[in-house]
């Protein structure tokens, strides 16, 4: 997990229940007022340590998911079956690198550096969305990832545009705009395949079958088993519960799959007229826990790829830093000469 750095001169109490200094008490009061008004917390505002820690955890995990999430799709860039699809896929994976960048920047405003977060990721100490530990074995997976995985991400992220922490909410506005393009291109891939040859259609159905349950599990464990959700909702970071978002997502899939002329591998999907919520069949949370614990099909592969890209690039980053330092030294000696003259 990424380490949280204390702003200088503000040692946090070990326990929030301990007596607060007058500054902290005033800060807490101001923070509580911001949350009560459903307004925004900005980087320079006082905030409870636990709020800061929780945000760093969530935002960095989100950033890592974007970065690791590039891999399963990059897997098909060189083999995309038409130049137009290749171009769209490249643009999409590139967008994900961009999302990672904004999110790491948002997390940096909380006092944790990108290097610290990246080090935690390559050391295997940070989490990212479990779904990226499944392999992309056919081209139709590009469609299913766009439609289902990005679709689930949108359901999760649209409410985050209103998250109480300003930089996170603002980053999410841009991310969501691009995600909606990603989802449409995924749907379009599946639509094309579903209306193609029988083999293409079978490929599309197989991909939907494989990505369905993992995409539903992207919303996290059921509400009664989600330890961080309650506090996160009290802080106006999270706006809807895991199950609430999952239900909305199932409803979206259930309608859209008809347009594709494909089926979802779940006979128990129904709209409950009493609760006004979509329901689905049971999910294998044991599998979810296994993958989360590092025993999914691609965990080791994904991490190794990130680690080797990072390690192989070390000399480039060192060179850039050394060059910048030399240029700065040259500039300051020029300035000194000018000043002396």
């Amino acid at each position: 997990m990424a380490r949280n750095v204390q702003p200088a001169g503000q040692p946090a109490p070990q326990n929030a229940m301990e007596a607060l200094t007058p500054e902290d008490a005033a800060g807490q009061e101001n923070f509580d007022r911001i949350i009560a008004k459903d307004s925004r917390v900005e980087p320079k505002d006082w905030m409870p340590e636990a709020y800061r820690r929780s945000l760093v955890r969530q935002i960095s995990q989100h950033a890592h998911s974007e970065i690791i999430g590039m891999q399963p799709e990059a897997n098909w860039i060189t083999r995309a079956p038409s130049l137009k699809r290749k171009s769209i896929l490249m643009a999409k994976v590139q967008d994900e690198a961009g999302h990672g960048l904004y999110l790491y920047s948002a997390a940096e405003t909380l006092g944790t550096t990108r290097d610290e977060m990246m080090d935690a990721l390559v050391a295997g100490k940070a989490r990212y969305s479990s779904i990226f530990n499944y392999p992309t074995v056919t081209w139709a997976d590009m469609g299913a990832i766009g439609w289902m995985v990005d679709g689930a991400a949108i359901c999760n992220q649209v409410p985050l545009c209103r998250a109480s922490y300003g930089p996170y909410g603002r980053a999410m506005v841009r991310v969501c705009k691009e995600e909606s393009f990603h989802q449409r291109q995924g749907f379009e891939i599946l639509l094309e395949l579903a209306n193609g040859t029988p083999a293409q259609r079978a490929m599309a159905q197989d991909a939907v079958n494989r990505w369905y349950a993992p995409s539903l599990m992207m919303f996290g464990p059921p509400d009664d088993d989600s330890p961080n959700s309650k506090q996160s909702m009290a802080w106006n970071i999270k706006r809807f519960s895991n199950d609430e978002l999952r239900s909305r997502f199932v409803g979206m899939l259930a309608e859209q799959v008809k347009v594709l002329g494909l089926t979802l591998p779940d006979d128990e999907i129904r709209f409950n007229e009493d609760t006004k919520k979509w329901e689905h069949g049971p999910l294998d949370w044991e599998e979810f826990k296994e993958v989360l614990a590092g025993r999914g099909p691609c965990n080791a592969q994904r991490l190794e790829r990130r680690r080797s890209a990072h390690a192989d690039g070390a000399w480039v980053r060192e060179a850039a830093a050394a060059y910048a330092a030399k240029q700065a030294a040259k500039q300051s000696s020029t300035n000194a000469q000018k000043a002396a003259a």
């Binding site: 083999r79 690198a97 395949l193 293409q200 050394a322």
Partner: protein, 285 residues
Amino acid sequence: MDHSSSLGGDASASATRITPGFALRPEDIALAAEQGTATPGGDVADYALRLGDDALILAQRLGHWISRAPELEEDVALGNIALDQLGHARSFLTYAGSAWGKSEDELAYFRHEPEFRSAHLFEQPNGDFAATIARQFIAANYQFPLYRELSKSTDPMLAAIAAKAVKEVDYHLDHSTQWVLRLAGGTEESRRRMEAGLALMWPFVGELFEDDPLIAKVGDAGVVPSSLKEEFDRSTGAVLAEAELDVSGHPMATGGGRLGRHSEYLGFILAEMQVLAREFPGAGW
């Protein structure tokens, strides 16, 4: 000359950024060809094919970096350059194909190795980041003056494609220049790698500037490669001098790409690029 009205570009052309005003898309070119307003003669089509193949093979190589770059900013930058090159390839190939009733995809996915007309430089493996930068440095210093001159082509479609491309290659030029300077002036290791990268790529400079009978046939519709060499030497020379790098000792390799004689690498590039399309011939995507 204003091509915007006759070629039907629109403002929503780029998937990744908002392009203000006129932007020419491969779809516009295909439409113009279909309507018979812009179809190249056979020689111009052959010429467009080699430009398209250079850009396509380079895009294919660069696309491999995405998710593997030394820094996230470089995943974005190399991805951007790959996308630009792919865009240029799509335009040139669509235009070339319209002479023979073939789509960009038929040309990209269903030609055999000896039918490709790319120069050897573009086929060279990515190697380490320095080798990729060396290849980019040569490619951008070649493509920039090429597209600038081609934007004055007597063929309006080639001129329009080149006018869009040159603005993008201007950025590629800046990107590769900055990295050549950084790597050469960074650490001992980066300097050694930059020198090694240039040693790998420089032998393929010669082929880019060779004239052949097709060039004479296309006349003012094309650009005479040898006419660009002096500017290439000057622009690369200035950067290499600042970086204190010497490329004068590298021998030139025998080319042949324009005749369909390729390096050992192209077969593997095509095997990967074409595999899925060939598995489902005739399918739409």
